[in-house]
């Protein structure tokens, strides 16, 4: 339904998108021009001199009841026409957006020819051009903009030249109709609700009631009804509402006036209408140096931050679970490979680098030797874990920190923040090298054999290149730093090469790895393999309310460091020390095939009355092909002291899953597999 020509374009777009336009209902009796001809040419039913006075249907629109209107739109002259439809769109024409202009102290003035308020006089340096000044045709907007732009430049003291505006052919438009409320056969107070402000549910009847109650100033009407209080600041309904108020008081719109707008103004950005931040360019997609290989080998991708990470690598015909089972068992039986390039990497240099690490990590760094790696936990001031990773000592004053993929930028910011505001005297520099190194993690019993085929200058002997050591050398002809660290619990090497050579080394690994059934795996298998070992993922098994002791990671907290560390005091607060805190434990379902949904809540007695007393939720849950049963980790109140006890998980489908509390380490509790 429309009072003007512009809404026809929406109907045409609707039709062009392959949808059916039941009809265009035009309140004007005599509009005739390009748009009406075009509607007919498109075969769209055009009903002129009518309005939609009622929508029928419950829960969704099913039908529109039409009313024949008199020439001014004041009265219903005939009824009986109805249209079956599922959507009704209505247009009362354009309203200049005077909010910003209002903020300068300019009071809007009504213009009948515009059928809207335009900015009035202002004492500030302000020129208004285009639609806000009542120009709705493109050609007028362009010439107005060019003229006033030149004027503004001249007033600012810059020489200007005449600017040619682009030539525009615009169809002739029929005059719009000033119509703010479609009349009904019944008075507004008795008619079905006629919503004016869609955000605050203000109706025409409500506005009329306000004026009858004596709220005659438009500012009072606004406060009586809440009209214009929504987040759209009245952009949709205010003009209609003010016109209804004026009419009910037998006044003109200029007499009633408009409310004025205060900051803040919520704009519709140009980007939302005309910008290029859409479709493929909506958000950056970050790729690793091996991305093209992953694409070629059929990887399904997962979004991790802005990164596209391989999620899993299905073979033709495989379901996701089948692919995961294959990737998981291949890694534990022989060897798997993960593109770990996306993990955050921060180069840390300076004579106080070691001291700085000791202050931001919970554990000790004073004695970590050159060539060694160590796992670290980072807490916020409140003592809650927010990131973790392995940091390696490259030189006496030189460390390479790794962070979670999603936490990389936040951790770098955190380090800079503490350095700049708390400890500016420490001599240390942080630089991101995330993108500079391509990182490939090979894991499994055959990892050493494979690496040995590609390097001749790194001594891979188990007694000289131990677990949590790193070495420098050449891999597939490329200088590399190789870190013997493991997120799978297997014999594992993380090979880092300058990213320009990443794809080459990756391909060489596959060339030599074929005989070992080298299997690429993605983030999902990575999650399963680490869960089999009870390794946490910060942000999945932690949620900002969990301190290292809750996680059972007391070994990663060094209480007696000479200087304090971030979070030390926080994790000693009364609430952090109280008994019965939620603690991270392993959970084994009694039915080994049943995989608990992540987020499921544990209770002691599934038959207790609601609301039940909840003990904690599942944070990680998978089917482990290596173990032949499901595995889960989750929070349980006092969980560390409840090993072997059973809890129940009532699920939303009505079923209840019983599980036994156990250690988080499901596989190889002594860590023999990674120490070979």
């Amino acid at each position: 339904m429309t009072t003007n020509d512009h809404a026809y374009r929406t109907a045409f777009d609707w039709q062009d998108a392959g949808r059916e336009v039941a009809a265009i209902v035009d309140t004007r009796q005599d509009a005739n021009g390009y748009y009406q001809d075009e509607a007919r040419r498109r075969g769209i039913t055009l009903i002129q001199g009518y309005g939609v006075m009622e929508a029928r249907g419950s829960k969704r629109v099913q039908r529109a009841i039409l009313a024949k209107l008199d020439a001014k739109g004041d009265r219903v002259t005939d009824t009986g026409l109805a249209l079956d439809c599922d959507t009704i769109a209505s247009s009362g024409g354009w309203s200049p957006v005077v909010h910003l202009s209002c903020h300068t102290g300019s009071r809007p003035v009504w213009r009948d020819d515009v059928i809207g308020f335009v900015p009035g006089e202002t004492t500030q340096k302000q020129l208004v051009a285009g639609a806000v000044a009542g120009h709705f045709r493109l050609a007028d907007c362009l010439s107005d903009g060019a003229e006033l732009g030149a004027k503004a430049a001249a007033l600012a003291g810059f020489p200007t030249e005449a600017v040619a505006t682009p030539k525009i052919t615009e169809p002739q438009e029929a005059k719009a109709m000033a119509l703010f409320c479609i009349p009904h056969t019944k008075p507004n107070s008795r008619a079905p609700k006629q919503f004016v402000d869609f955000q605050t549910d203000v109706t025409a009847a409500g506005i009329e009631l306000a004026t009858r109650e004596g709220f005659e100033s438009i500012e009072h009407v606004k406060r009586y009804t809440a009209m214009g209080f929504g987040t759209d600041q009245g952009k949709l309904g205010n003009i209609n509402g003010m016109a209804i108020a004026a009419k009910s008081m037998n006044k003109s719109i200029p007499e009633t006036g408009t409310t004025i707008f205060r900051p803040n103004y919520t704009p519709v950005t140009f980007g939302a209408i005309a910008g290029r931040h859409c479709r493929d360019l909506f958000d950056p997609m970050r790729y690793s140096a091996m991305h093209e290989w992953h694409v070629k080998h059929g990887a399904k991708f997962e979004d991790v931050g802005q990164w596209k990470r391989p999620w899993y690598f299905p073979k033709p015909g495989e379901t996701m679970q089948q692919a995961l089972d294959r990737e998981c068992t291949a890694t534990r039986e022989s060897i798997g490979i993960l593109d770990a390039s996306t993990l955050g990497k921060i180069d840390i240099q300076g004579k106080d680098a070691r001291e700085f690490l000791g202050r931001v990590y919970t554990n000790a760094w004073a004695k970590l030797g050159v060539g060694k790696c160590r796992y670290g936990l980072m807490c916020k001031e409140d003592g809650m874990v927010f990131d973790d990773g392995v940091t390696s000592c490259l030189g006496e004053n030189h460390f390479l920190m790794t962070t979670t993929t999603g936490g990389a930028a936040g951790v770098l910011e955190w380090l800079e923040f503490y350095h700049q505001t708390e400890w500016p005297t420490l001599e240390v520099y942080f630089n991101t090298v995330t993108d500079h190194w391509a990182t490939m993690a090979i894991a499994g019993p055959n990892a050493r054999k494979l690496l040995a085929e590609l390097t001749d200058d790194i001594d891979l002997d188990k007694d000289s290149f131990k677990f949590m050591d790193w070495r420098q050398g050449t891999v597939a002809g490329v200088p590399a730093r190789v870190f013997r660290i493991s997120f799978t619990g297997e014999l594992s090497y993380e090979i880092n090469v300058q990213a320009n050579y990443g794809l080459h080394v990756w391909e060489k690994l596959f060339e030599h790895g074929e005989k070992y059934n080298l299997t690429p795996y993605g983030t999902e298998t990575m999650h399963i393999l680490r869960a089999e070992k009870g390794f946490i993922i910060a942000g999945q098994d932690t949620d900002g309310s969990v301190h290292p002791y809750d996680l059972g990671l007391s070994w990663a907290v060094k209480e007696d460091k000479p200087f304090s560390f971030i979070g030390k005091r926080g994790m000693k607060r009364e609430d952090c020390l109280r008994p019965n805190r939620k603690q991270l434990v392993g959970l084994k379902t009694l039915d080994p095939k049943r995989v608990l949904p992540e987020g499921a809540q544990a209770v002691d007695d599934p038959n207790q009355p609601k609301p039940m007393r909840m003990l904690g939720h599942i944070t990680s849950s998978y089917y482990s092909a290596n173990l032949g049963h499901s595995i889960a980790m989750g929070m349980i109140r006092n969980g560390h002291n409840r090993m072997g006890e059973r809890v129940f998980y009532p699920l939303s489908d009505g079923s209840v899953v019983e599980a036994e509390i156990c250690s988080t380490i499901f596989l190889d509790p002594k860590g023999k597999r990674q120490n070979v």
Binding site: D283, N431, V433
Partner: protein, 241 residues
């Protein structure tokens, strides 16, 4: 080279490493696929020419600009005076750009990363750092009469002549990523782009340039995707000498 890479030296304060291979190994720049794409012939004079300056050396230098020894050390190693805020210094091989109050980016021939890293370590002392970032970023060149118009659409920073004269360097927001933007000439701009964001920035540039007519040039002629060890050694010694 192997002694330089040695870790057994107890005096190792900062690990350095020649990260380029001495054998023939294919190197892939962040845009090696995209920049090979040639667009269909254009019937208009291109307003924009775009290419990647691939496989350069990128070294990030941190230090105290107020420290004379730092100034002198950088000059001795690079031949360039440490540039002040929002500017850069340049000679035949190297460009040194101001990034932030204690940070500079040194860009030069791709084969020279290690030689230059060692030269800087030799000349600098005290509180400073040198980090090789060559694999982590690349240069994109944007040239042509309409280059500024493309940047106006892409950056909130004012790239008008009055605010952005030739020689200026600014690290700023680019679309939804970031770039270090340097104006080389009236119609010639250079963007430093992070590797993982390079594809996004490149596609953004293709889209933003489309209305002006776009030509994608071959990666800069001085760069090769494949370089041999012997070439590298000879040029390394030239600089060292």
């Amino acid at each position: 080279m192997s002694d330089l890479n040695s870790l057994t030296d107890q005096a190792t304060l900062v690990a350095t490493m020649d990260q380029n291979p001495t054998q023939d190994v294919p190197a892939r720049s962040p845009l090696h696929q995209q920049s090979q794409v040639s667009l269909a012939s254009l019937n208009v004079e291109p307003g924009i020419t775009l290419w990647e300056e691939a496989l350069k050396t990128h070294l990030v230098i941190r230090g105290d600009a107020a420290d004379d020894a730092f100034q002198k050390g950088v000059k001795a190693a690079t031949g360039l005076a440490v540039p002040t805020q929002l500017s850069s210094a340049q000679n035949e091989h190297w460009t040194l750009s101001w990034i932030s109050p204690d940070e500079w980016l040194l860009v030069g021939p791709g084969t020279e990363a290690f030689t230059m890293e060692l030269a800087l370590h030799e000349q600098l002392s005290g509180h400073y750092s040198v980090v090789n970032a060559s694999g982590g970023q690349t240069l994109v060149r944007l040239s042509g009469e309409k280059a500024r118009a493309v940047l106006m659409k892409s950056c909130p920073y004012d790239v008008h002549d009055r605010n952005f004269p030739v020689g200026k360097v600014v690290t700023t927001v680019f679309a939804k990523s970031q770039t270090t933007l340097r104006r080389l000439d009236e119609n010639d701009w250079e963007l430093v782009v992070r590797r993982s964001f390079a594809d996004y920035v490149w596609r953004w540039l293709l889209d933003a340039s489309h209305e002006f007519g776009l030509r994608i040039a071959a990666p800069s002629a001085s760069q090769k995707q494949f370089s041999t060890a012997s070439e590298k050694r000879s040029s390394a010694s030239a600089v060292a000498g």
